[in-house]
Symmetry: C2
Subunit: 264 residues, 2 copies
C-alpha cells in the first residue's frame, strides 16, 4: 500500500500563499507531518498559474528534498514544469498525471518513460470522464497500450479509475469499484491509486463517506491512495481495513499505531 500525501498542493489557499511568499517553513512542516504519518510519496503541486508554475514547482522540489528524504510525486499536466523539476530531483519521482487526452499523452508520457518515472494515469479522455465502467476500461486499455509501446513497465503505472459524486450519480461508487476490480484482473501488475474526496461532493459529513469509500476501494484491489495521511480518521480506517484484509502481519501496524496514540 503506497500512500501519496496530498497536502502540498498550490490549489489550497495556505499552500498558495506559502509558495508566493517563499515560506519554506510551511511547506517543510507539511512534508514532515505527512511522512511521520506514513506517506510514501509527497504530491507536489505548484498551482495552475502557467506563468510561474515552473519556477514554483522547482522551488517546492528544492524546499522539500533539502529538508526530508522522500519520493516526490510531481503534480502537473504540463511538460515544462515537469521537465524543469525532473532536472532537480534527487530520486526518480512519480508523475501525476497523464490521461487519455492526446495532448497530455504526447507531452507527459515520453518524459515519464524517458526518466523511468512511476506515472499516474487518469481514466478520462477528451470526452471527459466516461460514465460507465466499460467505457472507462476502454480508455484505460488505450493508455496502457501506449505506455507499453513507450517502454514504461506496467509496475510503474498507477491507474486512477476516477470517482464521480454520488450526489449526482447514485451508481458512481459501484462503477468505480467495478473499474478497480476489472483493471486488477486484466492488468495484474498495474497499480491502482485514487483521490477519494470527489465521491462525497455535495453531501454532508464528507469525511465519513470518503473514508468508507477508501475501505471499499482497498477491498476491490486499490493498492495506493492520494490522501491526507495526517487525518486520524482516515489513517485509522486504512489500518483497520488492511488488518481485516490480511495485509497486516501479526496485526503489527495496527497495534503499533494504537499504542503510539496516532489514531483518533
Amino acid at each position: 500500500m503506497k500512500i501519496i500525501g496530498e497536502k502540498i498542493n498550490g490549489t489550497r489557499k495556505s499552500v498558495a500563499a506559502a509558495i508566493v511568499t517563499r515560506n519554506a517553513e510551511v511547506i517543510i512542516a507539511l512534508a514532515k507531518a505527512q511522512i511521520e504519518c506514513g506517506a510514501d510519496f509527497l504530491d507536489i503541486n505548484a498551482g495552475s498559474t502557467p506563468d510561474h508554475e515552473t519556477e514554483d514547482l522547482v522551488w517546492l522540489v528544492h524546499t522539500v528534498q533539502n529538508a526530508v528524504n522522500v519520493k516526490l510525486c510531481l503534480d502537473s499536466s504540463r511538460p515544462e514544469p515537469l521537465r524543469a523539476a525532473l532536472k532537480e530531483v534527487n530520486q526518480t519521482p512519480m508523475i501525476n498525471s497523464i490521461s487519455g487526452e492526446p495532448k497530455r499523452l504526447n507531452d507527459v508520457l515520453p518524459l515519464a518513460a524517458e526518466h523511468g518515472c512511476e506515472l499516474i494515469a487518469l481514466a478520462l479522455d477528451e470526452g471527459g470522464i466516461p460514465k460507465t465502467a466499460d467505457k472507462r476500461l476502454e480508455v484505460i486499455r488505450s493508455m496502457i497500450k501506449l505506455t507499453r509501446e513507450q517502454g514504461l513497465p506496467d509496475e510503474k503505472l498507477y491507474i486512477d479509475p476516477l470517482i464521480l459524486s454520488i450526489a449526482t450519480d447514485g451508481d458512481a461508487g459501484k462503477t468505480t469499484l467495478d473499474v478497480i476490480r476489472r483493471v486488477c484482473e486484466e492488468f495484474p501488475r498495474v497499480h491502482i491509486t485514487m483521490g477519494l474526496s470527489n465521491v462525497s461532493f455535495g453531501l454532508p459529513k464528507r469525511a465519513l463517506i470518503n473514508r468508507t469509500f477508501l475501505t471499499l476501494a482497498l477491498a476491490a484491489g486499490m493498492d495506493s491512495a492520494i490522501i491526507d495521511p495526517t487525518e486520524p480518521t482516515m489513517r485509522e480506517i486504512l489500518l483497520a481495513t488492511q488488518l481485516i484484509l490480511g495485509q497486516d502481519r501479526f496485526c503489527r501496524n495496527y497495534t503499533k499505531a494504537c499504542r503510539s496514540g496516532l489514531l483518533s
Copy 2:
C-alpha cells in the same frame, strides 16, 4: 438490508438483572431505542440458565410485543424455550439459530419449518468452526440440503458465515468475506447475516475494527447484520456504505439521518 438489534440479550449483565427482577421498563427502553434507530428485528435472548430460560423468554416476548410492534428474533439453541415462545408471538418470528450440529438441527429446524420462521444458520458443526472457507462452505451446503428437505424456502434462511478473531488468525477476515461471496453466488436467494464483534477480540479499538468489517461484509454481499443500531458510529458507517454501494436511492436515507442528528 435487515438490521437485527442485539441489545436484549440475557448474557449482558444489565439485561440479566432486568430479567431476574422482571423490570419491564429496562427491556422496553432497549426495544424502543433500537426500533427508532432502524432495527427490523429485535433479538430476544433470555440467557443460558436452562432451568428458567423458557419462562424468561416468554416473559421477554410478552414484555416487548405488548410495548412495540416489531418482528422478534428468538435467540436460543434449545427447543423448549423456542416452542413456548412460538405459542406466544403475535407475528411469525425469526429463530436464532441452528448450526450443522445434529442435535440443534434435529431440535430446532423442524420447529422453524413448521412455523414458517426465518432462520439463522451458523456455519459450524460438531467439529467447531471450520478454519477454511472450503470447509465452512461444506457445512453450509449440508445445512441448506436439510432446510430444503424440510420445506424451508431459501428466502427464509440467514447464513451466519462466522468470524474468528483476527488477533489469532490473520486470515480470518479474508476467509469470512470469501464465504460470504461464495454463498451469494451459490445460493442467490439465501440471506447472509452476522454478529461482527468477534473479529476484533483481543485487539484495541474494537469498535473501529467492527464497523470497518461491517463495510467489507456488506460489499461482499451480506444483506443483514446483528448489531447495536443505537451505536452512532455503527449506524453512520452502515449508511455511508449503502450510499456508496448504490443501495440508497437519491441519497435519501443518508441525508435524512444527517439532518436528524442521529449520526456521531
